[in-house]
Amino acid sequence: MPDAVGLELIAKEINAAHEGAVRETGHEYGSATLVIAAGKNLEVLRWLEETPGQEYTFCSSVHGADYLPAEPRFAVHYELLNRDRVERIHVKALLGDPSAGTDDRWGEGPLPTLRSSVGIFPTAEFQEREIYDFFGIVFDGHPDLRRITMPEDYVGWPQRRDFPIGGEPVIFTNTERERAGWYE
Amino acid sequence: MNGFPPIADTAFAEAPWLLVVKSIVIFGVMFAILPLLTVLERKLLGRFQQRYGPNRVGPVGLLQPLADVGKLLGKEHFRPDGAVPFLFAIGPLLVVLSGILAIAIIPFGNVVDGVGLYGIDVSIGILYFFAVGSIAFYGLLLAGWSSGSKYSFLGAMRAAAQLISYEVAMGLSLLGVIFMAGSLSLVDIVEAQSGLWFIVPQIVGFLVFMLAGFAETNRTPFDLPEADAELVAGYQTEYGGMRFGSFLLAEYIEITVVSAIGAAMFLGGFLGPGPDWLGPLWMGIKTFVLILMFIWIRATIPRVRYDQLMSLGWKILLPIATLNALVTAVVVTLT
């Protein structure tokens, strides 16, 4: 991974190319982190992929996280990799919660939105669907944004920290009629 | 014209009651052996695969088929909503019927003490085998088509296409033997081998016949119609209970019949040292050897792909069999 100085240089260059893209940098546990503005995620990813000397062309993983008490609340993490130099860089796009302050346990309020990176990294297709499925983060421009693991008619975003757990009745085929709409 | 009519031109006339007794005996013996064949296959597969195979029911698992049949009989006669009831029921029936009909011409021996040791020795002989074999096709197709399931439908189509493709090659592979024996009657063909078994001059025909036999009986490596990896169980997918059991039964009957025909056509059938009444024993041993080959190959060889199967049938086996028949015809005419 780039060392601390290299990371600062990368951040500076990105900011020169795209104003206000990198908010802060972090270098902990031997892992380099770029915290970026949510609106600039594609620009940063493309810069990291295409700029000569960087070429983080391999996307290892895309995943989401919910830092509930913190603001902005959500983050989408991109783990990029340069296979020639075996350097990893961790890009973290922070996202606010549009329905903050309301009681939105079932995720019915407006959803945070981010531009999809499928155009740059085709591998992100399933993983962005997974993030949408679990966190309710919408990826604009995703070719097929549906739930991937949970049932298609599921309501709520189960990996959010405020998702109520425990005590939900389970729907079986013999109880589905009695319990229709149990979540209301 | 009293009693039973002489339906076919037979070489040796027998009393009608004798025919009835013979059919009962052949039928009884075959159906006593078939269940043991299933145990044998499972035991052998077990040994091939470093395990035991069935050994819980009865001595060394010999009663396993009884338990299996009991289980199958106790099952519900399930039929999917989309199925066509009559055809759904008649499919397995036809498959079993065609197998059983073919048993009639298997020669277990020549005439001994005024009794022909065979079901019937007709002049069309081997042609009869192909005639009833073509009935089996309809059993498979109806079973698959009427199930109302896509897997069954695909399986049935594969089975049908495979059956007709390989029937041609099989027929041509036997032509050489027929030329050399100068007769279609199986008894005559066996008798013609008293000097030399036809497997020696007709080795090409034998190999083509066996390959086509594997395809006809839907056995590995040509078990595509029931390829469990792709089509679940092909045309049998929607069947349960004894109807499913019928397909299984038919498969073993067909294996036996193909092996027996192979033994009669190529391995000298009932010929062997000792008195004539030992014929059935020799025939049984030779058939058994061929059946073992079926089982062995099942344990060893992977399944071919559908298009490979088709091109093998049409582009390799068919020309080889034709050439073999031509060469044999020329040689037989010249000598």
Binding site: E28, S60, A65, H77, P122, F134, L145 | Q49, V232, T300
Partner: protein, 432 residues
């Protein structure tokens, strides 16, 4: 696309099935196909048949469902549908303290449990800045490589079964059983051993374990030779795997595919060689790569990997250092059992660890290891408490599954099964 829920409604007549007049996603919830056999949709001559493969299809290696459009026997389009064994493991981990989450994470991909434990424990160890003893590292390597052989053997057996070579299944499972015996001996469990701990391994290996591992390493190459003899020279097997399911190296990299699939296409990418999460540098082994990336290469690469793993295990057992099997840091590691009766301090540590668990400083980290199916990564967010705020696993079969479409479209259904088998998906890992 403002509100995805409206999109969800629309997707009930999902676009990708537009024009087929049938959306199998909605109409056949159980996968049992009772719809008309041939959808004679419009007046076109094309007979497109949509088949639901799975979720209870015998050859999908679990409960994967493939919605396949067929024209005759050729695959036109393919969509994987998953989630049938989703158990919410990532969510459940958030309710458990760090060291109690270990049994959870190893149950995701049920054929590479040691790798998931290593990804998780390694991640936590990096976050708390803990060095683990050399002996523990070697023991981890031995178990992980045994696990890799185990996983590849299960793969080989089931793949051969899908190809119709049923005996291979039993042969492979015979050897696999020996590996499970070894696991049982060292860890007390045959699968899902929870053998790796934060700080090392749970127990030292018992007496006689190394001898058994050595015997295993001596005898297994011969078995692998026999498998190769059965398959490599079998014309049917070659015909069915050669030049089937080729995906270019570039496309695989775009799709994020790792592991034997990528190596079969000629890319020598192996985390064991390029990173130092465990001292793989101590051992002499090579990374097998293929040439064109067809199914035959995939098979060859995996079989070669079995041999390489055996080499690693032999060297690791030979050079197994003496010393403690777990770090001596009472804040994170349970004290030895015998100290509990004599030392008050140990009892307090034990009590604190068992009831509350240890705390991890706030931070987040992604820690990848090379699993049998590719890069197995663990991402942990710690908020300073004793429980992880987020545990995410990058499961290699989940990512690799995206390449199935590239392998299959335009090919035959029969090849679809082979391709899927060669992909080696583990549904427990995909659905998590």
């Amino acid at each position: 696309m403002l509100d995805p829920r409206t999109k969800l409604e629309e997707s009930k007549i999902a676009d990708q099935f537009a024009g087929r007049g049938l959306n199998p996603l909605i109409e056949d919830p159980d996968g049992a196909v009772v719809t008309p056999m041939v959808e004679s949709e419009t007046s076109t001559d094309e007979q497109v048949m949509t088949i639901n493969m799975g979720p209870h299809h015998p050859a999908t290696h679990g409960v994967l469902r493939l919605v396949v459009s067929l024209k005759g026997e050729y695959v036109l389009d393919l969509k994987p549908v998953m989630g049938y064994v989703h158990t919410g493991i990532e969510k459940s981990c958030e309710q458990k303290s760090f060291w109690k989450a270990i049994p959870f994470v190893e149950r995701m991909d049920y054929l590479s449990y040691f790798f998931q434990m290593q990804a998780y424990c390694g991640c936590v160890e990096r976050m708390i800045g803990m060095e683990i003893p050399k002996r523990a590292e070697y023991l981890r390597i031995i178990h992980m490589e045994l696990n890799r052989i185990h996983s590849h053997l299960v793969w080989l057996g089931t793949t051969a079964l899908d190809l119709g070579a049923m005996s291979m299944f039993w042969y492979c499972f015979n050897v696999r059983d020996r590996i499970l015996d070894l696991f049982e001996m060292s860890a007390g469990q045959r699968m899902h051993t929870r053998y790796f701990q934060v700080g090392g391994v749970a127990e030292d290996i018992p007496v006689g374990f190394t001898e058994k591992v050595k015997a295993f390493c001596r005898e297994t190459p011969e078995r692998v030779d026999q498998y190769e003899a059965l398959l490599d020279r079998n014309e049917i097997f070659l015909q069915r795997t050669r030049d089937v399911g080729i995906v270019s190296r570039e496309r695989l990299l775009e799709l994020g595919v790792t592991g034997p699939l990528l190596r079969a296409a000629g890319e020598p990418w192996d985390l064991r060689k390029v990173t130092d999460y465990l001292p793989y540098g101590d051992f002499d082994f090579s990374v097998p790569v293929g040439t064109v990336g067809d199914n035959y290469d995939r098979y060859r690469v995996r079989v070669a990997e079995i041999r390489e793993s055996i080499k690693i295990i032999e060297q690791a057992v030979e050079g197994l250092p003496e010393g403690p099997h777990i770090a001596d840091d009472r804040k994170y590691v349970l004290p030895p059992r015998d100290e509990l009766g004599t030392s008050m301090e140990s009892l307090i540590h034990h009590f604190k660890l068992v009831t509350e668990g240890f705390r991890v400083p706030p931070g987040e980290l992604y820690n990848p290891v090379e699993g049998p199916r590719g890069e197995t990564g663990c991402f942990i967010v710690a908020d300073g408490s004793a429980k992880p705020a987020r545990v995410h696993f990058r499961d290699s079969s989940f990512i690799n599954l995206q390449s199935l479409k590239d392998m299959c479209v335009g090919g035959l259904v029969a090849d679809l099964i082979v391709n899927l088998a060669m992909l080696d998906p583990i549904l427990g890992g995909i659905d998590r």
